[in-house]
Symmetry: C2
Subunit: 267 residues, 2 copies
């Protein structure tokens, strides 16, 4: 038969919306995850220009076989207005990166942080009662912080060049996990079990570490949210010191799994 | 790598728009044809409810990586208003079933008839100077008639329950192929080289022939536009009489090939 196996009239449609769109990895990775479940579904790139977003999105969401959307740059902040209901993380962070159709409503949630927690869970690691240093409280960093708050660590130490960002996340910990001790201070691993980098230092060809350090204790768990390169300068140092290393790619896979659960109505 | 091979951020998007949508075969068949070329593209089902068409389609066409659309029931007549330029067949028939992006414009064309002519060409058969009986001048039948007119047969004999339809197609032959002799008469194969059925008699469980006949000359070429069943009562009779038989499925494959050419800017 002259036909492909992965598409037919019953295939449910999902999209990733961004501008530009060519760099996204969700089409091949999320579709793979959906096919594992198995779902008769594909996630395709949808290139919406920034100036067209307000006009196009509400109409696009009228496609009757469209069941979910992922949002990437520059739409993560804007997309929240499209949701009729918000998940716990989205309420705390004030942004979404995914929408799922639930009957007549669209539900929004943000999965960056949940993906980080999921990547730890898959390694048998937990944030509960741990002492955590989080560097960077931008978009990804604040989502990671919100997800960790729900895991109730013993201590969260926050650092961002912009102290206001750290203070917002400190407030959130105060509400979500009042027993967590919160510190805002320059990066340091003194008394820390888990070091998380969510700032862009070390991305692509950037050979810098996110803070000056020459050695790490082998008991430290080191995570870097950066996906490219897989081996950041921080992770290279951590690996050479015998630390447990969790990579940005693992967070991405954890996030994809959580988003497909969400698309399936499982969270 | 946990990813599928047939989708990525650079994949160009095509859709088939209809209501309902689950029965369509274009997603698996057109995508297969595009992958043969090869194109990094998929054609996905897009379920637009009839009442949403006018609102949704112009916005959908703003998706910057959407390069083409196919229209099926109930949108074939309506879709023509979305085109900024029309192909020769669309101008004659007054309907389109495909749109392709050409720079800033959308070009429309109808491929039902061109698919029939292409299926004959692939068999080494031609309509030029032949004597043709065409039964049925509805949507598919009038498109087939218009495509055959451009091939300049010697004779076209037309029959439809609705004589006005036959007269419209007779007019079109007068303009496009003035040397073709045109007759409007009840179905008969006297002096006919090619018999084409484009009426729904014989579809699905309908065991009837489109006109009363018990034997056919083996020199006759017999075509049936019906896709389900593949072996219509008419084609079964033709095959038992030793006629050359061309099937609806061949027209569909011919049409798909022509539509992908169109999407590629080749016609």
């Amino acid at each position: 038969m002259e036909q492909v196996e992965f598409l037919n009239g019953k295939t449910r449609l999902y999209g990733i919306v961004g501008d530009p769109i060519e760099q996204v990895r969700s089409p091949e990775m999320v579709t793979w995850e959906m096919h594992q479940r198995p779902m008769n579904a594909v996630l395709v790139p949808m290139h919406v220009r920034e100036q067209d977003f307000d006009d196009v999105l509400p109409r696009l969401m009228q496609l009757h076989n469209l069941d979910g959307l992922i949002f990437t740059i520059p739409f993560k902040a804007k997309a929240i207005v499209l949701a009729q209901a918000l998940g716990a993380q989205a309420l705390q962070v004030g942004a979404i990166n995914a929408l799922a159709r639930r009957g007549d409503q669209w539900h929004g949630e943000i999965f960056d942080g949940l993906g980080c927690v999921e990547s730890f869970r898959r390694r048998g690691l937990s944030f509960k009662d741990k002492r955590v240093m989080l560097i960077g409280q931008g978009g990804a960093g604040s989502a990671i912080g919100a997800a960790i708050a729900a895991e109730h660590p013993a201590l969260i130490r926050l650092f961002d060049q912009d102290t206001e960002r750290s203070e917002r996340l400190a407030d959130l910990f105060g509400r979500v996990s009042p027993d967590t001790r919160v510190e805002i201070s320059p990066p340091s691993i003194d008394g820390i079990d888990i070091l998380l980098n969510a700032c862009p230092v070390g991305m692509l060809d950037d050979a810098r570490l996110p803070f000056p350090v020459s050695t790490l204790p082998s008991s430290l768990i080191v995570f870097d949210a950066i996906v490219k390169p897989e081996q950041t300068p921080l992770l290279a140092l951590a690996q050479s010191c015998g630390c447990t290393v969790v990579r940005g790619r693992e967070m991405m896979l954890g996030q994809i799994s959580k988003i497909v659960d969400f698309f399936n109505g499982q969270n």
